[in-house]
């Protein structure tokens, strides 16, 4: 399974956010970190991939099928998107809200197969104890985890997560990233995760894409991308890639003088 | 000086008016000249209990409600319009029969400007000031509104005397004093006294007999307020106020009196069938011009017996109504709605009294009374139909 993005131009109204953006193909089983400063176009890229924003031109092929022209519901089955912000004041239980992600068709009854998938998903992420809770009772970390569950439960081919670790404490940051990592490997899907934390990106991603001003500035393994001078330039810092005692990388950065 | 200005303003208007307009202008000039000659200020206590300084015998007055003409006509019998410079068009709209009747005798009635509702806050005080209004008569029922909207204060500031009268809130109590107040202001006390004698004599004739009737013998009377006004709806009735009180005083027991105190209440139509009142009286007036689709009985000076009977029959043809005792027993009546806001209400009471206790009041002849009222006190003749009973 391959995702290829070619010459993508998209935006809101007349303002183009993405300008002729092309990315080398992404293979299934890959966890791709999308990094870049605020307003670089990360969210717009994700929304273009899900169809929330309609690209003005370009091509998005998932397994050689054009996503842009694909119908709403079949696209929804293939691509799952977790937006940066989502309302959680709905009076729904965790189980219901995850089940909701599976139900797009009409009909009163719920297939028992769907119930089983929800249950499995919750257990996979170790969330079964929250199953009967109301969404509004959850902590920030818990609701973020449930959102991830809602995204993954549909068994999509492509998962897009927009800053899933924002506003979370360290434990939850690591557990969310671990869950995503595990899901990608187990289900052999493509996941793209927008991240601000370069260290998380370095730790969990197979590949990083650096986006700036609607274009891809750098692309490659975390090791190569994070060591590039483009990082310094993009974030306006002086950074260097260091190795920890257990062999993983971290970015050591300070404001450029 | 001011008055001279007013006169010249009236004259300036003359070329644009008809011959009648010129005649009116001259009449007005003459009256205002007389007014100037003996301009005298008197102090009256109006029906709202306010002490008002007012020019006696003013030549330019405004009626807050057009239907005040019913009272004014009793006082200025020679020409009720001679002082009226403005009014509200309620008479024109809701009692067009009476309006046309007066218009035929006094064509100048057409020139009176419609000033709209005095309580709307938008009321043109300017129009009152520019037409040199000396006195405006307002309805007691709107005292609060007049105060709230600031109209009262503005009028007083403008030097226009405001006199409250009432023929509707407490008709039996306030009619005589209201007429007396108007008469004092308009300097027509002899005319007022003459009518008041007639009024009191007729009221007492009813009271005297009613006293002898025990409550147990009194029939239950249901007033259907504006019967058929809205063909799809039934019913609204009077509580213990106004016509409700008149029914109680004329030997009946008003159904609504026991239910609520006010003027208008929405009746559960089922109650009509359950309580099955002995007498039903629907009120009606010529509302056809204001509301063309109305099914109301169009009572008034232009009504005919046949048309009235036709409408009455239609009202009893409403589903289930033929089952009602009042309809079965031929005690289904209709009465001119405007009696509720008029010093002539004693005529309606005579009709009520006869309907409630036909035996005791067999000598009463309301029609003769109403005719006499017209002959003796009003500048117009009696005509039309003002009440009726369904023909079996």
């Amino acid at each position: 399974m391959t995702l290829s993005i070619k010459n993508l131009t998209a935006g809101y109204g007349r303002t183009a956010i993405l300008r002729n953006l092309s990315a080398p193909d992404i293979q299934s089983g890959q966890l791709v970190g999308v990094i870049g400063p605020n307003a670089a176009g990360k969210s717009t890229l994700f929304k273009s991939l899900t169809g929330i924003v309609k690209p003005k031109q370009g091509e998005i092929l998932l397994n050689d099928v054009d996503l842009i022209s694909q119908g709403r519901s079949s696209k929804a089955r293939r691509v799952a998107y977790m937006p940066q912000t989502y309302s959680c004041n709905a009076l729904l239980s965790v189980f219901e809200s995850v089940l909701l992600a599976l139900k797009q068709t009409s009909g009163w009854r719920v297939k028992s197969d769907n119930l089983l998938r929800v249950e499995t998903m919750l257990r996979d992420l170790g969330l079964q104890h929250l199953s009967s809770r109301g969404l509004s009772e959850l902590s920030g970390g818990q609701s973020q985890m449930i959102a991830v569950a809602r995204t993954l439960v549909r068994d999509p081919e492509l998962v897009l997560l927009d800053e899933p670790t924002s506003a979370l404490d360290l434990h939850h940051q690591l557990s969310i990233m671990t869950s995503i990592r595990r899901a990608v490997t187990r289900r052999n899907i493509i996941a793209m995760v927008a991240l601000h934390d370069l260290n998380l990106a370095a730790e969990y991603c197979d590949r990083l894409i650096l986006v700036r001003d609607g274009q891809i500035l750098a692309d490659g393994t975390p090791q190569t991308v994070l060591a590039m001078s483009e990082i310094d330039e993009t974030y306006r810092v002086e950074a260097s890639l260091e190795t920890t005692k257990r062999g993983s990388f971290y970015v050591d950065a300070r404001l450029s003088a | 000086m001011l008055r001279n200005l007013a006169v010249s303003r009236t004259r300036r208007r003359a070329p644009f008016s008809t011959l009648f307009g010129i005649l009116t202008a001259i009449t007005l000039t003459v009256t205002s000249a007389i007014g100037l000659a003996k301009a005298e200020t008197i102090t009256v206590t109006d029906i709202a209990g306010r002490t008002v300084e007012v020019t006696k015998n003013p030549s330019r007055i405004v009626l807050g409600e057009g239907r005040m003409l019913y009272s004014l006509a009793l006082l200025d019998r020679d020409n009720p319009f001679k002082r009226v410079v403005g009014w509200k068009d309620d008479l024109v709209k809701y009692d067009p029969d009476a309006y046309r009747k007066y218009l035929a005798v006094f064509p100048e009635a057409a020139d009176i400007q419609n000033l709209g509702s005095p309580y709307s806050g938008e009321y043109s005080i300017e129009a009152l000031v520019t037409s040199d209004t000396e006195v405006i008569f307002l309805n007691l029922g709107n005292l609060l509104k007049a105060k709230e909207s600031g109209v009262l204060e503005k009028l007083e500031k403008a030097g226009i005397a405001v006199v409250f009268v009432d023929f509707r809130q407490r008709p039996t109590t306030n009619t005589v004093p209201s007429l007396q107040i108007m008469a004092r202001v308009l300097d027509q006390r002899d005319n007022a006294d003459e009518f008041i004698d007639f009024y009191v004599k007729n009221m007492n004739a009813i009271y005297g007999t009613v006293e002898k009737i025990s409550d147990a013998d009194k029939p239950i009377v249901f007033i259907e307020r504006a019967a058929g006004y809205n063909p799809a709806k039934c019913c609204s009735t009077f509580g213990s106020a106004n016509l409700g009180r008149l029914v109680d005083l004329s030997g009946g027991i008003n159904w609504g009196t026991r239910k609520f105190p006010g003027f208008s209440g929405s009746v559960n139509p089922e109650a009509l069938f359950v309580d099955d009142p002995d007498v039903i009286i629907g009120t009606g007036a010529n509302w056809a011009e204001a509301k063309p689709d109305t099914a109301a009985v169009l009572l008034g000076y232009e009504a005919t017996e046949d048309a009235v009977q036709e409408r009455l029959a239609a009202l009893t043809a409403r589903r289930g109504w033929s089952e009602l005792a009042a309809v079965k027993n031929g005690r289904f009546h209709t009465v001119y709605h405007q009696f509720y806001n008029s010093p002539y209400h004693f005529v309606a009471m005579q009709a009520f009294a006869k309907w409630a206790n036909p035996e005791q009041f067999k000598d009463l002849d309301p029609e003769a009374t109403f005719k006499e009222l017209h002959d003796r006190f009003l500048p117009i003749d009696f005509s039309g139909v003002f009440w009726a009973t369904i023909k079996q």
Partner: protein, 353 residues
């Protein structure tokens, strides 16, 4: 030993939840039926229930007088109360859903003030939009103005593709425009007309008729299935617009469809009985607090709650003073507020589980 080790723990919990909700829905329907019974057996005439029931099955069993009382007065009012309550509550529920705003109800969009203005126009000037409707002029005017307002909002949102906040702002603007126009009408009105306008606005169930009932029932019969078919999409919308979109919901189209439905429901209800506020706001809230926001249960329970509220209102409006009918607009608030507050206070969030 723990519930986690049971193979179908979460599923059976969910199944229990669904069963409980069905039970609640059935219970609410039974309450509604009881209220309806009380409504038709109560009135100024204290006839035994058996008599009323006999007339219910056989119109002519107790003579014309009783037939008129039961079939022309009591039944139309009782049924209209239920229909109008359901219409208002469904409209309110959908409004709150598509605008993602718990304070929304059909009248938030200025529907009531538009309808009142239409009615006032008919009462004061006798001016009708559709000529030749006779005494239905007030009803027809109210309906068309309400509908026109909704159509305008719909058009505006379709043209600009605006979000829920903009729709609410539109509604507020329309509310003020028509309120001003209504005040203008009131200035022009005679005292008699003024009192008719006020009475119209306070609402009355006596404007009921079997034709209107047929119309209302038919409308609900069409609208409810349409809404229920979209129940999953509507529930998804409550998870946020972007989440719903990513789940494949065509949010713009769903909003437009629901706006059309809300418009027709609200306009019809207002034309039938005048402006009755609060039911459209509180009915859905009570339903939400009891069964949550799964639209499969939320929507029907909203309808039943609204219907129950109006039915109780109808009972109360004729019981305060036997023989006199009190305006329902006043009573809905009087019984709605205490019920609402008690539900808010007694419902803990855990009730959801």
């Amino acid at each position: 030993m723990t519930s986690i080790s049971q193979p179908a723990g979460e599923i059976s919990a969910y199944g229990g939840l669904i069963q409980r909700r069905i039970a609640i829905l059935v219970g609410a329907c039974i309450l509604l039926a009881l209220s309806f019974l009380v409504d038709i057996t109560n009135g100024p005439g204290n006839f035994p229930i058996s008599t009323v029931m006999e007339i219910f099955w056989d119109k002519a069993s107790h003579g014309v007088r009783m037939e008129v009382i039961v079939w022309d007065y009591r039944l139309p009012i009782a049924v209209t109360a239920i229909l109008v309550g359901a219409m208002l509550a469904v409209a309110g529920a959908q409004m709150q859903t598509i605008l993602n705003n718990p304070l929304a109800e059909p009248f938030t969009l200025g529907v009531s003030s538009a309808a009142s203005f239409g009615a006032a126009l008919a009462i004061v000037l006798g001016w009708s939009i559709v000529p030749g409707v006779g005494h239905l002029i007030v009803t027809v005017n109210a309906f068309l103005f309400a509908l026109g307002t909704c159509a305008f909002i719909l058009l505006a949102t379709r043209l600009k593709g605006v979000g829920s906040e903009t729709i609410i702002l539109f509604g507020i603007a329309i509310f003020f425009v028509f309120n001003a126009a209504l005040a203008m009408m009131q200035y022009m009105a005679s005292e008699d007309q003024l009192s008719r306008i006020v009475f119209w606005m306070m609402g009355s169930l006596t404007r009921a008729s079997w034709e209107k009932i047929g119309l209302g029932a038919g409308l609900l019969a069409v609208v409810m299935p349409i809404c229920l078919i979209r129940s999953w999409q509507l529930t998804a919308l409550r998870m946020g617009e972007e989440t719903a979109r990513s789940m494949g919901v065509d949010v713009g189209r769903l909003r437009a469809e629901m706006l059309v439905i809300i418009s027709i429901l609200a306009a019809t209800a207002v034309a039938f009985v005048g402006t009755v506020g609060f039911v459209g706001l509180v009915g859905p809230h009570i339903a939400r607090l009891i069964v949550g926001e799964d639209q499969r249960f939320f929507l029907p329970l909203s309808a039943v709650t609204g219907a129950l509220m109006m039915s109780l209102t109808s009972i109360l409006s004729k019981m305060i003073t036997p023989g006199i009918l009190y305006p329902i607009g006043i009573i809905t608030a009087l019984i709605g507020v205490p019920v609402f507050i008690s539900v808010i206070l007694s419902t803990r969030r855990e009730r959801l589980s």
